[in-house]
């Protein structure tokens, strides 16, 4: 990838297909989040029994939606919109965290968003992915300190924050990049910058 194609059309102007794609991704991820919520507690509780902050290693999937939304749409707000909608959908289907999931979705999306905003929404490679992923995880960790881990000492809290931030930055980014490539290869991203990059590479 020699050059990054940024958003189609003026950066801040959302086309209908941008909005709908974020929305449909959000809904699809919301279902996936709900499903992950049903199974994740088994491994998460198991490692937490050893060292409670290790549970963070199973929380990164909840941030993939925002990263994927941003990688595809490449517009300000894409991460917050996708992540928040995924949270709404999983809450409406019924996750264990109920409607407070919305707060998680909001802070996670905001963290990812800031990572890309720092680079002026012009770079969609590793640097903003790592930063955005880390911030998204860190923001979520802070919210969880407040709402769930009130009894932890600072050592645990800090460990949790770094574990969650790092696992989102690494695993979350990897999965998000992989999914985006898969969708682009399937021809599902033709109206979007990642799809255009793939198509211009193949054009003869």
């Amino acid at each position: 990838m020699s050059k990054t194609i940024t958003a189609s059309g003026p950066l801040t102007r959302w086309r209908t297909i941008d909005l709908l794609t974020c929305a449909f991704l959000g809904v699809a991820f919301g279902v996936a989040y709900w499903a992950w919520g049903l199974v994740y507690s088994v491994p998460s509780n198991a490692v937490s029994a050893v060292f409670p902050p290790l549970g963070a290693l199973f929380n990164w999937p909840w941030l993939v939606a925002g990263v994927v939304g941003m990688l595809i749409i490449r517009r300000p707000g894409a991460a917050v919109f996708t992540e928040l909608l995924a949270a709404v959908v999983s809450a409406l289907i019924g996750t264990q965290w109920g409607l407070t999931t919305l707060v998680s979705g909001l802070v996670q999306g905001l963290g990812v968003e800031i990572g890309f905003a720092v680079f002026g929404y012009a770079v969609y490679r590793w640097a903003p992915l790592l930063l955005g992923g880390f911030l998204g995880g860190a923001f979520e960790a802070v919210y969880e300190w407040y709402s769930y881990w009130t009894d932890w000492g600072w050592d645990y809290k800090i460990a949790y924050l770094f574990l969650l931030g790092a696992s989102v930055a690494v695993f979350g980014s990897l999965v998000a990049v992989g999914l985006t490539r898969l969708l682009a290869a399937a021809g599902a991203l033709n109206p979007f910058p990642p799809g255009q990059e793939v198509r211009e590479q193949r054009a003869v």
């Binding site: 209908t16 909005l19 809450a91």
Partner: protein, 771 residues
């Protein structure tokens, strides 16, 4: 903008000048310097082979080429002298897939969508909506869900949505391709009627020309390069070009149906299903009942009977055509026969030489001792015997390349790669796909994907071939290929079952089984009483549930937590009361408890870590557990009563959130159901192709990822079709819009919010008073 400011009555002129369009990634333009002028009120049928740019031209006339694709566009299109999108709603567009453009949860609201986008005052909408629904002959209540409509009704709903905006040009992109002949006739009659009454300019794209000839003034033919090769009075154009059009795959009246492609399958590889002598029963379903449960957000579900007390027999070397109106349960009966769905009543028997027990193909001791019905078979046992081609061929693709896709099942069954490779290559060759063998199947055209799905289904020599509407919407070339594969499978000794509306397929079948829609259980006449929470609007419920957010800062000890939890439970129980006349509502408390069950896991996790850290003190652990429970109980009570569409109305009108994202989000939420169906279809495809992961968490996890990828691809396809339909109704510029649905704030809303605040007050009081 006032609607109709620049609108004349009736149709207007459409001018296309030097239009060139090259999507990114294509070396040649789809349309190259196209010129075309349509007179006001002219009715035009647009024909041409697949890939000639007919749909592209329609999108260009609607001003929507850049809505769902990107590329180089030059030239000009004017509609009545204006660029098409300058006058929202001046060009109405109806797409091929019924329901692709549905945005709302009721048909009335759906028709009003375009009116909202042009900021019509809500009070003026109902008469326009009713008139449009009446004009297309939809007589059911405006509150009906679009999901309950048949294919033909869905197309008429799309038409009503366009008509409500009083367009001067109507564009129809294969509007009847997915419909049976009688329904297609109804839709054509409605279109013709509306166009005549309003004097609209009409452009129809269709593969089957016959039905439209009496309704149009002019036939324009495009060639594969996207240029106009014939243009004029329809009968005259057909006399001159009919033969060549038919050769390119167009269904031309007077030209007989094509013959099935002559196709002889190579020897089936070792390890194929055993054979039943010709005419013998391969599988028989008797007294079968299949129920569909459709879940909705909020946990309520509705059960419909898809088919009841139906019989079906499939015999070796014979084809059964399963016919009947849409909604009669043809696909469900066929699925039950092939073990794709589990019947809730009745039996399905597969001939003994084919069952896993007899062929010794399974190691499962239980299966060997008794003849399990096919829905209980493992993926590879089922794949050996049964092949299935779903109606949407795109969901049936499993391989990275076309050749890999055909070989998926033979290799999964452990058949000899060389023998099955020869058979696969021969199949691809005779279906005209040989040159695409190394291509990514997802990049093929619809017709090519359909042919590929047929090839992949029969590659391993199955004994029972099931095909769901295999010829719908196909051109002559693919039609001949599909019929050829089915005939070859039959000649090989397989039992073939097709659900179809196609007279050509029915004529070719050995037996015809007719199904009629089963009677549905009558809805209870007495209305249910509504619980108190259900009387509050979605916004107040959301706010009430989020009132728990300050609690972690307020609650320190288990006594405080317990006190607040008691307050929450009492408020919740009051909210679930349903006073008044009528039937008692169903399972209120059970729904809430079901939603709290997963919360128990979260609570245990938090309590455990608090216990571990808090010096193994039970009081600390209990405090943590109660605090988390206090966060979750209010959500569990209200979440089932939040209506997503109402929430959208409230967020946009009361909280003034940006209109377009809110509409996009609510439209996507309406499709949650279809994701459920798509997931099921993808999993069924994997199972019947022999690659379903039956056990092992790693294999299942991998499969979940792959299927999620397929689900996302499907979801994005839906998003782009919906974007097109929404922009055709003026959504692109609808930053400020009106709302057909009200967002009232009533006394129950105030009470609900009050209950939320009471929880905060209780927590503050508990903190002050309790140790």
């Amino acid at each position: 903008m006032a609607l109709g400011a620049a609108r004349s009555t009736g149709g207007v002129e459409v001018r296309v000048r030097d239009l060139t369009w090259r999507p990114f990634g294509r070396s040649r333009p789809v349309l190259d310097g196209l010129d075309l002028t349509l007179g006001p009120g002219e009715r035009v049928l647009l024909a041409g082979p697949s890939g000639s740019g007919k749909s592209t031209l329609l999108r260009a006339v609607a001003g929507l080429l850049l809505t769902a694709d990107s590329g180089d566009l030059s030239g000009a299109v004017t509609v009545g002298g204006h660029a098409p999108q300058d006058v929202p709603g001046s060009v109405g567009l109806v797409l091929q897939d019924p329901g692709a453009g549905v945005v709302a949860s009721s048909i009335g609201r759906d028709v009003a969508f375009g009116l909202e986008n042009v900021s019509m005052p809500p009070g003026e909408m109902p008469p326009r909506v009713e008139a449009a629904l009446r004009e297309v002959g939809l007589t059911m209540s405006a509150d009906s869900s679009p999901a309950t409509l048949s294919g033909g009704e869905s197309q008429r709903l799309a038409l009503a949505g366009a008509l409500a905006m009083e367009p001067s040009v109507l564009l129809l992109d294969e509007p009847t391709a997915m419909l049976d002949a009688a329904t297609a006739g109804d839709v054509r009659a409605v279109v013709s009627d509306v166009v005549a009454r309003r004097g609209l300019t009409l452009v129809v794209v269709e593969h089957r020309l016959e039905g439209w000839l009496d309704h149009v003034d002019r036939l324009v033919v495009l060639d594969a390069a996207g240029s106009v090769v014939a243009d004029g009075e329809p009968r005259r154009v057909l006399r001159e070009h009919g033969r060549s059009l038919a050769d390119q795959g167009i269904w031309v009246p007077g030209v007989p149906d094509p013959d099935p492609l002559p196709l002889v399958l190579d020897r089936a590889p070792e390890g194929a299903a055993g054979r039943v002598p010709a005419g013998g029963v391969v599988a028989a379903a008797s007294g079968v009942r299949v129920e569909h449960v459709s879940r909705r957000l909020g946990g309520s579900s509705r059960t419909t009977v898809a088919v009841d007390g139906a019989d079906l027999e499939a015999r070796a070397g014979r084809t059964v055509a399963l016919v009947g109106p849409s909604g009669a349960g043809k696909s469900s009966l066929m699925g039950a026969l092939g073990g794709l769905v589990q019947p809730s009543r009745g039996t399905v028997d597969v001939a003994p030489p084919l069952t896993p027990a007899e062929s010794g193909a399974t190691s499962d001791a239980a299966a060997r001792t008794r003849l399990a019905p096919p829905h209980a078979w493992s993926s590879s046992d089922l794949a050996r015997v049964v092949a299935w081609v779903p109606q949407r061929a795109a969901t049936a693709l499993l391989g990275r390349t076309v050749r890999e896709d055909v070989l998926t099942t033979p290799l999964a069954l452990g058949q000899d790669p060389e023998v099955s490779g020869v058979r696969a290559d021969a199949l691809l060759g005779s279906l005209g796909l040989a040159h695409l063998a190394d291509a990514d199947p997802r990049q093929l055209s619809g017709g090519e994907q359909r042919r590929l799905a047929m090839a992949s289904a029969v590659a391993h020599g199955p004994a029972l071939v099931l095909a769901d509407e295999p010829t719908v919407g196909q051109d002559r070339l693919t039609w001949a290929a599909v019929s050829g594969v089915l005939a070859a499978a039959r000649a090989e000794g397989a039992a073939v079952v097709v659900t179809t509306h196609d007279p050509g397929v029915v004529d070719d079948a050995d037996h015809v089984v007719r199904l009629d829609a089963p009677p549905q259980p009558a809805p209870d006449p007495e209305p249910e009483r509504r619980p108190l929470v259900a009387r509050a609007g979605p916004l107040s419920l959301l706010a009430a549930a989020l009132c728990v957010l300050p609690l972690p800062a307020l609650l320190d000890t288990w006594r405080q937590g317990l006190a607040v939890l008691i307050v929450e439970v009492l408020l919740g129980l009051v909210g679930l009361l349903a006073p008044g006349p009528g039937r008692a509502p169903h399972a209120r408390l059970r729904g809430v408890l079901a939603r709290l069950a997963p919360a128990a896991v979260a609570v245990v996790g938090v309590a455990w870590s608090a216990w571990l850290l808090g010096g193994r003190d039970v009081e600390v652990a209990a405090g943590a557990a109660l605090r988390v429970l206090c966060l979750l109980v209010p959500s569990a009570v209200v979440v089932g009563f939040i209506d997503p569409e109402g929430l959208g109305d409230h967020l946009a009108q009361r909280l003034r959130l940006p209109a377009r994202p809110v509409v996009a989000a609510t439209a996507a939420l309406q499709r949650l159901q279809s994701f459920d169906a798509l997931w099921g279809e993808l999993m069924t495809t994997r199972r019947v192709r022999g690659v379903r992961a039956d056990r092992g968490p790693v294999a299942r996890g991998r499969e979940a990822v792959v299927v999620t990828g397929g689900l996302l691809v499907g979801a994005l396809g839906q998003a782009s079709a919906l974007a097109l339909a929404m922009d055709a109704r003026g959504f692109a510029e609808a930053r400020r819009r009106t709302w057909a649905g009200p967002a009232p704030w009533r006394r129950p809303d105030t009470l609900a919010l009050g209950a939320g605040i009471l929880v905060i007050a209780a927590a503050a009081t508990a903190r002050l008073l309790l140790p």
